[in-house]
């Protein structure tokens, strides 16, 4: 079977091939499948990016309170949080945010649909980030905590200046996979009609009957995105290495 890449230059409404492959845009202008594909990629990036911010902020808070000394109740709340969000499938959580939360909690009634999905994906991932941060903090030698105390820091201060900066730097590798996961998981937003890449793939594949070309393009975009995140995180990892640890020496030698 021959592949027909011209499908991307087609207008989405009358299916004629547009010269230059890009539509004129705007309210009355034309739109090609290529325009739509790039828009969908943008949606995926927005959903994944915002969710990542939610996941990092909430995950940092939850992960931290799980390691606080002398505060079993805060630690317990943190543990419950992680168990709750980790043991329900993402798709079910998205459905809950999308169909149930706006009805049960009036404050969310007017929240944009995209924001609901971002909360769903973000909080789901926050549990995993929290788990990694907890492990990261607990992996630090006890001396670090005591050193902070000996300097007369309050709990808040030694977390802020000693423990968290160290912990965040050593958990960058698992955070990298989490960032890549969040990008892939954003495909689930398709189930609640967010017009991201997977939604585009399914919709455009059906409209044009050129599923293979459309899916190939979308798959390539996912791979490119995953690779880009990987490179960005590797750069951050390199720049934030803790001197004196095994990881900081790079490839062998002194």
């Amino acid at each position: 079977m021959a592949l027909d890449w011209q499908v991307f230059c087609q207008d989405t409404i009358d299916k004629t091939v547009v010269k230059g492959c890009f539509g004129t845009g705007g309210a009355t202008g034309t739109q090609t499948y290529l325009d739509w594909l790039l828009q969908a990629w943008g949606q995926t990036i927005i959903v994944a990016g915002l969710s990542l911010i939610v996941a990092l902020v909430v995950g940092a808070i939850i992960g931290t309170i799980r390691t606080l000394p002398d505060n079993p109740w805060l630690a317990r709340i943190g543990n419950w949080w992680v168990e709750l969000f980790r043991n329900i499938p993402l798709l079910v959580q998205i459905f809950l945010w999308y169909h149930v939360v706006p009805v049960l909690i009036p404050a969310f009634a007017k929240t944009p649909k995209l924001a609901l999905v971002v909360f769903g994906l973000g909080l789901f991932t926050s549990a995993r980030v929290a788990e990694q941060l907890r492990a990261g903090i607990q992996a630090l030698p006890r001396g670090q905590r005591y050193a902070g105390m000996a300097l007369g820091f309050t709990t808040l201060q030694y977390y802020r200046y000693v423990l968290l900066p160290m912990a965040f730097r050593i958990i960058i590798p698992p955070l990298t996979s989490e960032a890549m996961n969040i990008f892939k998981n954003s495909s689930v937003a398709f189930a609640v009609s967010i017009t991201e890449l997977t939604f585009f793939a399914q919709q455009a594949g059906e409209e044009t009957a050129r599923g293979i070309e459309i899916y190939m393009a979308v798959t390539v975009l996912y791979v490119i995105s995953a690779f880009a995140i990987n490179r960005i995180m590797a750069f951050i990892e390199k720049r934030s290495r803790v001197p004196g640890l095994v990881a900081s020496t790079g490839g062998g030698g002194h």
């Binding site: 168990e83 709750l84 980790r86 043991n87 329900i88 499938p89 993402l90 798709l91 079910v92 959580q93 459905f95 809950l96 169909h99 149930v100 009805v103 049960l104 890549m180 892939k184 998981n185 954003s186 495909s187 689930v188 398709f190 189930a191 890449l197 997977t198 793939a201 399914q202 594949g205 599923g211 293979i212 899916y215 979308v218 798959t219 996912y222 791979v223 995953a226 690779f227």
Partner: protein, 220 residues
């Protein structure tokens, strides 16, 4: 505001049970198939022979960089195209999950094999074992035992991921709940019940894994 009284034993048997059965069966079959193909992939990658290692690496990294949902759609499109007739959502789900999970399990097996001390391989060779014997009798049994906790955790994630087959309208647990919710016009309660169901199953499983992990840690 919420009314769960619609959820009776009859509704459970009528709508949920079949879906629950499919979700569990899909988990079991794809864990088994994923482990078998995953082990093959891991052995290919560790073989040190380029023509074996390369395709396996490309396959594993490729599968891991695209969303499961996209893989599901690919198979849903491609399989009927290749064999010339539609095969149904359930069978598509099984094929996709085995193919997809093999990539993830292969990484677990690879880490498991790499966790074995080199001396074990040399010891096997010194006893005059062939590569196959050494793998089968010395390395893999130890590797599988070392990776049991990670392996079981991945199985729990796999069980959660089976909810995605809802998208291609396979009749799984989540599908059972949504159909029940729509037919009996309590969709919201149904979503909440689905969440409770998945939570109870996954929570008890991960609790059991934690116990097992503690046990293995003592033996070692």
């Amino acid at each position: 505001m919420l009314d769960f009284s619609f959820f009776t034993g009859e509704v459970f048997r009528g709508y949920i049970l079949q879906g629950l059965y499919f979700s569990l069966a899909l988990t079991a079959v794809s864990t088994l198939g994923g482990t078998v193909f995953g082990t093959v992939l891991a052995l290919m990658r560790l073989s040190g022979k380029g023509f074996l290692a390369w395709p396996a690496t490309v396959y594993v990294n490729g599968m891991r960089s695209i969303p499961l949902l996209m893989v599901l759609l690919w198979f849903f499109l491609l399989v009927p195209f290749i064999i010339g007739r539609p095969i149904g959502a359930e069978l598509t789900a099984v094929i996709t999950f085995i193919a997809f999970e093999a990539a993830y399990f292969s990484e677990i097996v690879r880490a498991g094999i790499q966790s074995i001390a080199r001396g074990q391989i040399f010891a096997g060779q010194a006893l005059g074992m062939s590569y196959g014997q050494n793998m089968r009798l010395v390395i893999l049994p130890q590797a599988f035992r070392n990776m049991t906790p990670v392996f079981l955790t991945q199985t729990i994630i796999l069980f959660q991921d089976t909810s995605l087959v809802y998208i291609i309208t396979a009749h799984d647990l989540l599908h059972g709940f949504t159909v029940a919710g729509n037919n009996l016009s309590h969709p919201r309660e149904s979503f909440i019940l689905a969440a409770v169901f998945y939570f109870v199953i996954c929570f008890s499983l991960s609790w059991a894994v934690k116990k097992l992990q503690a046990k293995i840690a003592i033996i070692r």
